[in-house]
């Protein structure tokens, strides 16, 4: 039983990342679409309010993925973050700007003020998605770490094609996932534009993630992980067809399922290595070499066994409470705060 704990936690961390990409995936994408597709302030406010009540809860999936990695695989946490020092710093700055922009954008009634925060949301979302994509791709394909787990080479020694591929994979997924989400959550002009994005771009947008998954598949995949990729492709096709037939819920769910299958396949194919070393396979961090003690893992398993279902339940309830579609006519007029 205790021998299985590191594997269990590897699975749980994969679940946390998949959950994060599924949930924050659409609010990061909605952030990017603020300037990509939508032009008027009332459309942008519709976008903001589709994710308004939920984005912060979605972001906790990231905090938990990182915190759980610290607790369950301290060596993985230490090596991944310190090796990718600058990309993670950029991710943090992006998330900081995005968070305050969500909350503060509507607090002053001025177009210049709003425009500045719109850019903060767009660039913050883009930076966060790209950085996290690069980090996830690199932790499954390898980083130049030595025997102690420290980076050899300068601040950019991590940079390679996989970093770009992972960044593109997550950014593009977020954009179409957000468009599918908006199609499901809005009405009128906002929905029509969102559907156009899904119909036109979905087939291309998933290609980088598929390429990343295939790369990991070639180096360590099994029948099962290959099968997951075939299923993922099936889901992507189903999502695209559903979007063409105006079946918003199905399109969104199938797209999310395609991502979950690909990410699941990637993590499973990488197993049992959590962070390969490009210098020497001997330096690879593995599920066993990087993990915490059975006591710590066992304790965390108990907490997660109670905590995660509860989290899913109340986060699910939030989505139920705010299930109504939003349109431009749902948005109240902006109000200026004036001194007495």
């Amino acid at each position: 039983m205790t021998e299985a704990l590191p594997t269990l936690w590897f699975v749980l961390i994969a679940v946390l990342w998949a959950g994060y990409l599924f949930l924050e995936g659409f609010d990061l994408g909605v952030g990017m679409l603020m300037k990509l597709v939508y032009r008027t302030d009332s459309q942008r406010r519709v976008l903001l309010n589709t994710v308004g009540p939920v984005w912060d809860g979605n972001e906790v999936w990231l905090i938990t993925a990182i915190g759980a990695t610290f607790a369950a695989f301290p060596a993985w946490y230490a090596s991944l973050l310190s090796t990718l020092y600058l990309p993670f710093t950029a991710v943090l700055l992006g998330l900081i700007f995005r968070a305050v922009a969500f909350e503060w954008r509507g607090k002053v009634d001025s177009p210049a003020w709003r425009n500045r925060w719109d850019w903060a949301i767009v660039l913050g979302s883009l930076t966060a998605a790209a950085g996290i994509g690069a980090a996830l791709a690199l932790t499954t394909t390898g980083l130049p770490i030595n025997a102690n787990g420290d980076r050899e080479g300068g601040p950019f020694a991590w940079f390679n094609g996989y970093a770009l591929l992972g960044a593109a994979a997550v950014v593009l997924f977020c954009v179409v996932h957000a468009a599918a989400f908006l199609a499901l959550k809005t009405e009128g002009g906002v929905r029509a534009s969102a559907l156009r994005v899904v119909r036109r771009f979905l087939p291309f947008a998933l290609l980088p993630m598929l390429a990343w998954a295939l790369a990991v598949q070639v180096s360590g995949g099994t029948m099962l992980t290959g099968l997951a990729l075939v299923l993922a492709a099936g889901c992507a096709v189903a999502s695209w067809r559903s979007a063409r037939r105006n079946r918003d819920g199905r399109a969104f769910a199938a797209l999310g399922a395609a991502m979950v299958l690909m990410v699941g396949s990637i993590f499973a194919a990488a197993f049992p290595v959590v962070l390969p070393s490009t210098l020497d396979p001997l330096f690879d961090l593995t599920v066993d070499s990087a993990s915490s003690s059975p006591y710590t893992l066992g304790l965390m398993s108990i907490v997660a066994a109670f905590g995660l279902p509860l989290i899913l339940a109340y986060q699910g309830w939030t989505y139920w409470v705010f299930r109504r579609r939003i349109s431009e006519r749902s948005i109240p007029a902006a109000h200026a705060v004036t001194p007495l």
């Binding site: 308004g52 020092y85 710093t89 968070a99 300068g154 601040p155 905590g307 705060v337």
Partner: protein, 526 residues
């Protein structure tokens, strides 16, 4: 500068900054939840207005706590990878528990509260706020458990030279954490109390200044009403109640910090004796508490420090509960530490150029001595001011003095200063350790780590400088914006949070066609 120094400055700046936002989040959150509960139970308009107004300020600040808190979850791995590897088995658990059990509840239910005003039944809506606020208190507990383990490691065994968790209950009930938790929550309430008092004072003053409220010849307050619906008699009740609540909370909070702080002092005397000595800049063993020490604290040399005013017995009382026990001074403690933990850093590559250099066990005296006094002094001044304010408010308004109003508003900063000084004291006072040794464990069971060994070996000075400059400048800009936003919303009064109070009903006709009673229009929207 070396990587270690930059990494320490970065951790210090980002964490102190984060802890400017967090006490206000915790303290004000609790008070807003109380206000909404009062509204739920009495249905009185002033409580609704209080909830809306203070809730709006709470949210403007809350988001900064969230944004800067993200950095905390990452920065152990970014700049302190050796630390993370060494302590991860124990230290990671409370962080993960915090995320799983507190952050999810906090963020999810706060989202429900912000957007749920018309959508949820009143009681459910209220409970959402309580869930979010109590989760933020719970997160404070978990992070203090983690921090307390660095001050006083417990609940572990040493396996292959590293601490491995073997008793989570011991970690969760670490006496250091159990006293730090109430101390921190009371510190947060002190911030919120001063915040309520200062801002409400401003509005009571403004009402007098604008001639709405007057004081007649016999000294009785005549509450008036201006034409704007936001400035009616209920508005007066909003500010008076808020001011009184703030004053009472500030006084109770100070008493709470004093009592819990007293327990902390006694634990510190046992657990980290040199921190206690450094708080005093005390060289020689003694019983007296220095009210004013002069000389060159910065020299880090005992010969240069003279205690000018000293109260005999008080230091013994702080440390031990009596007036006679000698508290060990630096001159006694440093040789003790050298004997137990070595005189020189080991020849281990993790120390880089510092390997083999002499260890300085003395914390920076300027910081510990003044940090300790600023914490206590600012806290006490804020509480005293709150007491006086409570008395002044007894008749129902505040004096017309503009200077007094300014004092009340600037007084908001005092408990912030006390909180920051307290943290700087306790963290700097732990140096040169990042994990201080627990004196109860000796030899092979002892776990401690020098800060010099904790920094990420692979990360370059250039990277650390880049992130330090980027984070510090972004934080500075955002602080300016946050304060300006808070000022704008404060000046707007309750109407800034309740636009329906901003104008008379007649103004609504020429509007944009969005009617507030339209079922499709969101009651709250970004």
């Amino acid at each position: 500068m070396e990587a270690l120094e930059i990494a320490r400055w970065q951790f210090g700046i980002t964490t102190v900054y984060h802890f400017l936002m967090v006490p206000l989040t915790i303290g004000l959150g609790l008070l807003v939840a109380v206000m909404q509960t009062l509204w739920y139970r009495t249905g009185e308009a002033s409580y609704l207005r209080m909830t809306r107004f203070w809730g709006k300020l709470f949210l403007i600040n809350f988001i900064m706590g969230v944004a800067t808190g993200l950095v905390q979850e990452f920065q152990f791995g970014l700049a302190w990878s050796e630390y993370s590897r060494f302590v991860g088995d124990v230290f990671g658990a409370p962080l993960a528990l915090e995320a799983l059990l507190a952050f999810f509840v906090e963020s999810t239910f706060l989202g429900l509260w912000i957007f749920g005003w018309q959508r949820l039944p009143k009681l459910v809506h209220l409970l959402c706020l309580w869930a979010a606020v109590l989760a933020s208190v719970l997160s404070a507990y978990f992070i203090l458990v983690a921090n307390s383990w660095m001050q006083h490691p417990v609940g572990y065994e040493v396996v292959d030279g590293r601490p491995v968790l073997n008793d989570i209950w011991a970690v969760l009930t670490n006496n250091t954490a159990l006293v730090a938790f109430p101390h921190t929550v009371f510190g947060a309430l002190a911030v919120a109390g001063a915040f309520l008092l200062g801002i409400s004072w401003y509005h009571l003053w403004k009402r007098r200044h604008d001639g709405i409220d007057t004081v007649d010849a016999s000294g009785r307050v005549q509450i008036g009403a201006a034409a704007a619906p936001a400035r009616d008699a209920t508005d007066h009740r909003v500010w008076l109640r808020s001011a009184r609540l703030g004053a009472v909370v500030a006084m109770i909070a100070f008493a709470g910090t004093a009592v819990s702080g007293d327990f902390q002092g006694k634990l510190m005397f046992e657990q980290q004796p040199i921190k206690m000595a450094a708080a005093e800049a005390a060289c020689h063993d003694g019983t007296g508490f220095s009210v004013l020490s002069v000389g060159n604290l910065g020299s880090q040399s005992c010969d240069d420090i003279v205690a000018l005013i000293e109260v005999p017995g008080v230091l013994s009382f702080l440390a031990n509960g009596d007036f006679t026990t000698e508290v060990k001074g630096v001159n006694t403690l440093v040789p003790e530490y050298q004997e137990k933990y070595g005189t020189h850093l080991p020849d281990n590559p993790i120390y880089g150029d510092r390997a083999g250099t002499e260890i300085d066990y003395l914390p920076v005296l300027e910081v510990t001595y003044w940090g300790f006094r600023i914490m206590i002094g600012f806290g006490a001044i804020a509480a005293l001011a709150a007491g006086i304010a409570f008395w002044v408010l007894r008749k129902g308004t505040v004096p017309e003095s503009r200077w007094l109003m300014r004092l009340a508003v600037f007084g908001i900063l005092a408990p912030f200063g006390a909180n920051a000084a307290g943290w700087i004291f306790t963290e700097m006072g732990r140096q040169p350790f990042v994990v201080a040794p627990n004196p109860e464990f000796a030899g092979i069971d002892s776990v401690f780590m020098f800060t010099a060994a904790a920094v990420s070996p692979g990360v370059t000075v250039a990277e650390l400088l880049t992130s330090l400059v980027a984070l510090a400048s972004v934080y500075a800009v955002l602080l300016v914006i946050e304060v300006r936003l808070l000022f704008t919303y404060v000046r707007g009064g309750v109407a800034s949070a309740m636009p329906e109070l901003a104008s008379t009903p007649a103004d609504h006709d020429g509007g944009s066609g969005h009617r507030a009673d339209d079922a499709d229009v969101l009651s709250f929207a970004y």
